[in-house]
Symmetry: C2
Subunit: 209 residues, 2 copies
């Protein structure tokens, strides 16, 4: 297998953290998003979506999308489980991971990519360029603020995001709360549950990668 | 279990189609999105995200997000498999389903919800109102057009979206191509592979629900 990473970007970091929790080591290639290496022909032939992370399997199959890559690795390296052990618990992990991707990570990306000069003409990921839309800067920020409250409420009755076990949903939520700093957004003081959880998960070795 | 549906909406349709393929019957409650029933306290207490589909389990757990609901049902009703039989195939189903949700269904929703008078002040799903942004009408439409080409290219070498078996990715793609009609977008004549696939999947009983 070969892992296509970008050390500065939040999406591949989720897979790096997942691999750290599992103790998985896979030969890794860095793709420099800042210089546009993901848009060049060489990488486009590996992943036509021009995104990282990507995982190339030994048969040449290229997996993209964080949750799909982790699902594959979970099947190959099942211990320790990071996806929930019963059908109900596994579905809750998928549910929370989806919410974090769409309402959390997606909201910050919306604000950042429509604001930063570095994303001019590249407001969305993928091979097609899209212009920035100024109204989305504030919309994305507000969505991310709302989602911090959603996570705080969920963590009032649960040690971890999807229940009583650390799972991939916590990895995604950790990256969400760290990615928020890119738009100068931090966990509000009133969000005691989210702060307590952040302290708890920040002590894990995976938080350092 | 209890299934919360809205007969006119694309997201719960994906779960209805999935249940039809499996032969699953679950007591169903219709939530009338047009009159705002999803935003009223009674449903908000079931699903604070104010979205359908939702699946209430017998222990009171409420599952939301289409893929999470289908993952749960797949574990309880494994036959016939709709998620791929090897780790590689299952990951490809998740990967394609994610792309269809974000790049396909999400694109049409972006165009529709920022255009239609019925979504004024409700440009995003969820309990918080967001104003329409006119630039997103065309952006969403263009993204959906691009994604039709992506699907057409994928179907050049595969009978079904994620490979040689009919899976939940085909259900999501069927709903994407039908939902496109809401913004008066149809499969382009040049997309021969996508048209061939659409004819194939349209003959299934699940396409009628």
């Amino acid at each position: 297998m070969k892992f296509f990473d970008c050390i500065t970007a939040p999406s591949p970091r989720r897979v790096r953290m997942y691999m750290t929790e599992k103790g998985i080591n896979i030969p890794t290639v860095q793709i420099d998003l800042r210089s546009g290496e993901h848009l060049r022909d060489e990488f486009r032939q590996i992943n036509p979506d021009c995104t990282v992370p990507a995982l190339e399997l030994d048969d040449g199959t290229c997996l993209t999308e964080v949750y799909a890559i982790c699902e594959y690795l979970e099947a190959v390296y099942p211990q320790p489980s990071l996806v929930g052990s019963s059908p109900r618990d596994a579905a809750l992990v998928t549910m929370w991971n989806t919410k974090i991707e769409q309402q959390g990570l997606g909201a910050i990306a919306e604000s950042l990519r429509n604001f930063s000069k570095g994303f001019k003409g590249r407001a969305l990921t993928g091979p097609v360029g899209f212009e920035q839309i100024p109204e989305l800067v504030e919309r994305g920020r507000h969505r991310a603020e709302v989602f911090m409250q959603v996570l705080d409420a969920q963590l009032a009755n649960n040690d971890y995001v999807a229940g009583e076990q650390f799972t991939i949903a916590d990895i995604s939520a950790m990256v969400f709360t760290d990615f928020a700093a890119w738009i100068k957004l931090s966990i509000p003081e009133s969000a005691h549950n989210l702060s307590r959880w952040k302290d708890l998960v920040s002590s894990r070795p995976s938080a350092k990668v």
